[in-house]
């Protein structure tokens, strides 16, 4: 048990932070812990969490995905356009758009792994290209409303549980298996720790890198479709906030931005922390500007705890105690 704690110190801390935050929020606004409020918090966190799944995998592999906002937005807009508010087309539209998200991820991954383009530039370029293409496609006008089935997936309930929370749970299980049990997971941590060592140890580094961006494209596109259901409509700019929140959730969840460490379970806590903070500030009568200040402070705090300086300090203290 103590070995587990030592290895996953940052993830445990993220959950501890989440619980403390929940209690503090409940103190300031007593209704916060009610079933209905927790339900809506989890639903909002699920969107961040699903986008951040791909971001987590990419960051563990030593990269970063800045194309998330417009992959999400493109999937949302194209889905709304192709379905025209009808459920039936979803049968082919959903697989098509998931494939589209994977394709963008493939382009990102090939650029990074095969052509040596820095991830920041590669994904930034695909992001602005997608943004432009979607603007050209829509001419800047709003799109038809979301099909009822998608609305059910994002705001509906099964046995009292929000459907999207169940989807998120399933994705969390899948991601945990992928990272902790599958060969891909082992390759990924090796790649993120040192691409050179991984390459010489026989890890298929190019394939693993490409796969991380494909996963990120998939989750961003999926989240885009679900988010359309939540807001009832797809609109331009709906993905913009998710660049910051997806990276912040990963950082708060304890992953190093340099790659090689972290886990999706930490990101789940990170997504929850960010969403609870959003709920805390209205209770304290604080503006959205204050929310951004708090977001920044929380990121600084969590990455400081994870930094070498602090763990070195912790090590020294423990050494003295022993």
């Amino acid at each position: 048990m103590s070995a587990f704690l030592a290895r996953n110190r940052l993830i445990v801390l993220a959950y501890a932070g989440m619980v403390v935050l929940l209690l503090v929020t409940a103190l300031f606004s007593p209704g916060f812990l009610s079933i209905s409020n927790m339900r809506s918090t989890v639903v909002l966190a699920a969107f961040v969490g699903i986008v951040a799944l791909g971001q987590t995998v990419v960051i563990i592999g030593g990269g970063i995905d800045l194309s998330v906002p417009w992959v999400l937005n493109s999937a949302a807009i194209v889905m709304a356009l192709l379905c025209g508010g009808q459920d039936l087309p979803l049968v082919w539209v959903m697989p098509l758009l998931l494939a589209g998200g994977a394709l963008i991820g493939l382009v990102n991954g090939v650029g990074v792994a095969q052509f040596g383009v820095p991830p920041i530039i590669m994904t930034l370029a695909t992001n602005v290209i997608l943004q432009g293409l979607i603007l050209v496609l829509t001419g800047g006008s709003p799109t038809p409303s979301a099909p009822a089935l998608i609305q059910f997936l994002s705001v509906g309930r099964i046995g009292g549980f929000p459907v999207i929370a169940l989807i998120w749970l399933a994705l969390t299980l899948a991601a945990t298996l992928l990272l902790s049990k599958a060969a891909f997971g082992r390759h990924l941590y090796a790649l993120g720790t040192s691409a050179t060592v991984a390459e010489f140890s026989g890890v298929p580094t190019a394939r693993t890198t490409i796969l991380t961006y494909v996963i990120s494209g998939l989750t961003a596109a999926f989240a885009g479709m679900l988010l359309t259901g939540y807001s009832g409509q797809a609109y331009l700019g709906m993905g913009d906030a998710y660049l910051f929140t997806s990276i912040a959730a990963v950082a708060i969840g304890g992953a190093s931005i340099l790659g090689g460490s972290g886990h999706y379970l930490g990101t789940v806590a990170g997504a929850m922390v960010l969403t609870i903070l959003t709920g805390l500030l209205p209770a304290l009568n604080l503006s959205s500007g204050a929310l951004l200040v708090v977001y920044g402070a929380v990121i600084l705090l969590t990455v400081s705890i994870g930094s070498e300086t602090f763990s070195g300090l912790g090590g020294k203290l423990r050494g003295k105690a022993n």
């Binding site: 930034l124 370029a125 050179t196 990276i247 500007g289 977001y295």
Partner: protein, 336 residues
Amino acid sequence: MAMSVAERSVETKMQPPGIDWRGRVLDRAPFLVACLMLALIVAIYGSLQSGVFTLDEINLDTAAAMTLMLAATGQTIVLVRGGIDLSIGGMISLGTVIAATRFTDDPSTTALWMVIILALGFLIGAFNGLLISLLKLQPFLVTLATWSILNGIAMIILPTDGGSIPGWWVGFASAQLFGLTSPVWMLLALLMFWWWFRATGVGLTIQATGSNEKSAFLSGVSITRVNLVTYGLSGLFAAGAALFLVTQTGAGSPTIGKDYILPSVAAAVIGGVSLFGGRGHLAGTLIGAFVLTLIGNLVFVLHVSSYWQPVASGVILLLSVLASSVAEKAARNRVQ
């Protein structure tokens, strides 16, 4: 895998002199590609629109590009150091809202606030550098966090776009000397600054640290001091960008800064600045900023939807990095 820049340049010097010019051209390939792109854009633009090759047009385009150029100058210094600064977005927003709420018709009060904004920029940047050094944190995350904090403070000071900028300061951007407006003179000043700065002890130390942090440290360089100055300068230039930006918009905006974060990186990369540190020249960045700005003009004269502009800038960005990576590979092959 990738050899450090310092090692490579040493080995390049050992090549026989006969093939040296090819090496030198290849090393500058990204910069040359940027020049070529700019020439191409200007040529197309000039053939479709009359009066492109006039002083008026140069004055106009430089004014349009100057905010990005100032922001990208700071970003170039950070990139040459081997870091990245996302917080400039927050600093630019903060600078514009302070300007829009504090500037008055009295020039001396306004001048005082300008000094305060610039000092704030340097101090906040230096704080970034300090955090990165003392806590051994990644520049990407530290500056992402301070971007959020600064943006939040800007929104608290001025929740929505507004405020006002005194007319005499707005007029600064169109003030002329020998037929050239102040932005053109600022452009020349930036080039002069770089020409001077890169040869100073500080400039050389920043570049050496970007090439190879470990050997810089072993040669007695204080990494903390390097980071302090690097990010401080980046903050200072971001504050300068904010002061110029308000002459263009005439108001403050708590959200406008984010539009300059990634374009500042893109301008530098298009101009051949390496994201791995140690390599790059401000002239390249300024050309990159012109390329990104003139694409807008081009889209306009080609009579296509302005929505094609981001597509074009993304494609140009990709072409530029591909040119860089081809040059890197060629350089590596030459060494082997």
